[in-house]
């Protein structure tokens, strides 16, 4: 793998178009994504695809554009250029709620718990299309019975989730009182409550203790195997990435540097350079 830059770029583009051909098993496709903030280019023509039912890792040194890519995919930022295709539909430039509504849900790098709401409320908020989100249904007597019924069912699911994530003892506490790791768990539990097709997890294990980390990874694998959920995972812990993710996408300076199975990435000179060479 000692090609010149131009050749690599061409290779990448070929790979992207080749990938587009068998779009059937690709849930998310990002093509030539660009995002500029004023004069600074955070993402500079990134192209990659995430296969349906995969646990794809996204790595790269700090400032590689991973989070900005996440923000563009999930509608927090509007991309300057490029296309984002989810489930056969162009979602570039859609509002975050429209993206989430289509089954693509994210967590945040720095957990954004709803601090003044209880842990229970945080989770009860998440499920999509709740009857009681309609104003008249939550107020008018007959409709309200349906809302109460649905709330009762949701409550069960929420308690189960809390128990799984081992934060049920904190259920009544305000989310703002949780520790950093607990907030990460809360975020992930909350995102899962939306019943997504694909989860974008931004450093979900930062601050989570090793035992729970293993448990979470098991859960992720289980959700992937049994329910066909797709995961795109940004993580700095190389061991996790190399052990659990396949394929792995490496970003550097706003572009995709390499994409492939973990062992290939591990031995990729340019990846090693990106991490240890140029930057240091």
């Amino acid at each position: 793998m000692s090609n010149t830059g131009a050749e690599i770029e061409r290779d990448e583009r070929d790979a992207a178009t080749a990938a587009a051909d068998d779009a059937d098993d690709q849930l998310l496709r990002v093509g030539n994504l660009r995002k500029e903030f004023g004069g600074i280019t955070a993402v500079d023509g990134a192209s990659f695809a995430v296969a349906d039912g995969s646990l794809t890792g996204l790595i790269g040194p700090n400032g590689a554009g991973k989070s900005t890519t996440f923000n563009c995919i999930t509608g927090i930022h509007e991309p300057t250029a490029g296309e984002i295709n989810f489930n056969g539909e162009d979602i570039a430039g859609l509002a975050p709620n429209a993206v989430a509504d289509r089954g693509l849900v994210r967590t945040f790098q720095i957990a954004r718990e709803l601090a003044e709401m209880t842990v229970l409320e945080n989770l009860m908020l998440a499920p999509k299309r709740q009857q009681g989100e309609s104003l008249y249904r939550s107020v008018l007597p007959t409709f309200r019975n349906g809302v109460i019924e649905e709330e009762t069912e949701l409550r069960e699911a929420v308690w189960e989730s809390l128990e799984f994530f081992e934060i049920d003892h904190l259920a009544e506490d305000r989310a703002g009182t949780l520790s950093g790791g607990q907030r990460k768990l809360l975020e992930m539990a909350r995102a899962l409550m939306t019943d997504p097709d694909m989860l974008l997890l931004d450093e979900p294990f930062a601050g989570v203790n090793p035992t729970l980390e293993t448990k979470l990874l098991d859960r992720i694998n289980q959700l992937r195997d049994e329910e066909g959920l797709t995961f795109l995972l940004v993580e700095h812990d190389m061991d996790i990435i190399m052990e659990h993710c396949d394929p792995v996408i490496v970003m550097h300076q706003g572009r995709v540097l390499a994409e492939g199975p973990p062992e290939e990435i591990r031995n990729n000179e340019r990846v090693v350079d990106a991490y240890f060479g140029d930057d240091i």
Binding site: N97, A98, V105, R112, T118, A126, K128, G132, S138, E172
Partner: protein, 466 residues
């Protein structure tokens, strides 16, 4: 608190604790206790001022009326600001739209200014719808911007509304269909139908001389013969106050349901972190617009009931921005985010900061025999050099409520911000869900834990589980 026959050895402190517990458990008990305290306060004020029974009833009617109207608007603002974080400082404007629309719809076509002569019910609903629509127009562009801009837009809209109603250009005008209509300009509208409550007592609601209905004859007869009260107006006012109290209960129930539902949960999430709500698939703009419109409709209703039927005539001057700030102060006192707190905050503001300063000068004059004189500032501060402060006190009394009210408001706000920034009930967790979330957790829940939880979550009293 009377000993109920059985010889109890419990210490008074025990009883006090029990009572405090009741207040913490039951919102109704809390509000009723507060109201009882305010009634007592004002009855004693009436007694100090040597009012006769009619005067005392009148003062009770006033307390009820102002508590209710303030509670109504504060509840509406709490929905917008306390729940969804929508910073609306155009409250006065939306109230004006409500009452003006009601007045223009119901005033007789032959009057001056001319109206449409429609029934009162159409007027009330029309006023609420109009306020909601103006709310929509305000919110649509503003919600796309950052939250602070909504505040700027609303305060501007509020002033535009007031100045439009004040403008001679719209004093009387003709609609394209040849229908005459008018706002009355600076003179306002005084010829809309009188308070519907009067229809209970008088055959012709607009005139007390018209003769009484059977109910009127009975009630007035009772007050005249048994209590010796001959002024029918105080009875009508007291009745209206009670009707308003019922309206407050209804609106409270409505808002408690809105709050204790998935809808209310999304509002809370929007207040906390809108990006999170969006990232979970919630179309936050729709929630915000609905909430804003509902709140504005309730403000319109409050305008109709307060400046409309309560006053009997509507003027643009009644909707100056200070009205908006009064409501905000009341929400801050009560604690943003709590419906019960809103009612309490409204009651505290209406009684202690709005009504009390109106009576205080009289009481001071009477008790300390100070002359309410002079009426100019120089004459008031001049004698201080000579060591006399009586003229200054006299000047303060002479200026009456405005000066005193703002002094009280200032003192109270400073105290609150330092000692209890969350307001009276803002510390409470009123869980946003239609069911008690702590239930449904079977394994591993200790009984004590469950008891704590139900205590915290049952904040809205049984309204939520009907």
């Amino acid at each position: 608190m009377s000993p109920d026959g059985s010889p109890t050895d419990r210490l008074p402190t025990d009883r006090l604790d029990g009572f405090r517990e009741l207040l913490e458990r039951s919102d109704a008990a809390l509000v009723l206790t507060a109201m009882a305290a305010f009634y007592l306060l004002f009855l004693s004020i009436g007694a100090i001022l040597n009012y006769d029974l009619a005067g005392l009833i009148s003062i009770l009617g006033q307390v009820t009326f102002f508590t209710a109207v303030y509670a109504l608007v504060v509840l509406a603002l709490n929905l917008q600001w306390g729940y969804a974080g929508l910073f609306n400082i155009g409250i006065a404007g939306f109230m004006a739209v409500g009452v003006y629309t009601m007045a223009m719809l119901t005033a007789p076509p032959t009057g001056s200014p001319p109206g449409l002569g429609l029934p009162i019910s159409v007027g009330i609903v029309g006023g609420m719808v109009a306020a909601a629509l103006i709310g929509l127009v305000t919110a649509l562009p503003a919600l796309r911007l950052r939250a602070d801009y909504l505040a700027i837009v609303t305060v501007a809209i509020s002033e535009i509304i007031r100045l439009t109603y004040n403008s001679p250009a719209f004093s009387t005008f003709t609609l394209p269909g040849g229908i005459a209509l008018g706002t009355g300009g600076a003179n306002g509208i005084g010829n809309f139908p009188s308070n519907p409550v009067r229809a209970i007592y008088f055959t012709d609601p607009s005139s007390a001389a018209s003769g009484t209905t059977p109910i009127g004859t009975a009630v007035f007869g009772f007050f005249e013969n048994v209590l010796g009260v001959f002024r029918s107006a105080v009875i009508v006012d007291l009745t209206y106050g009670l009707v308003l109290a019922v309206v407050v209960v209804l609106v409270y129930t409505l808002l408690a349901r809105v709050g204790n539902s998935p809808f209310g949960r999304v509002l809370k999430a929007i207040r906390e972190d809108e990006v999170v709500a969006k990232s979970l698939g919630k179309d936050t703009n729709r929630f915000k617009i609905k909430t804003f419109m509902l709140g504005c409709a309730l403000m319109g209703l409050a305008g109709v009931l307060w400046q409309g039927f309560g006053t009997g005539a509507v003027y643009p001057q009644a909707f100056r921005p200070e009205l908006t700030f009064y409501i905000f102060i009341a929400v801050i006192i009560g604690g943003a985010g709590s419906n019960t707190g809103s009612v309490l905050g409204g009651a505290v503001f209406a009684n202690l900061l709005f009504l009390l300063p109106q009576y205080l000068p009289n009481i001071i004059e009477q008790t300390f025999a100070i002359e309410a004189d002079p009426n100019n500032f120089i004459a008031a501060i001049g004698p201080i050099a000579a060591g006399e402060i009586a003229p200054l006190l006299g000047y303060v009394l002479n200026q009456r409520l405005p000066a005193l009210r703002f002094v009280f408001v200032g003192v109270l706000l400073v105290y609150l911000m330092q000692n209890r920034p969350e307001g009276l009930l803002g510390h409470r967790t009123e869980t946003a869900a239609a069911v008690d979330l702590s239930e449904g957790h079977t394994p591993g829940t200790g009984p004590s834990q469950a008891a704590d939880a139900s205590g915290a979550a049952g904040g809205e009293g049984g309204v939520d589980d009907e």
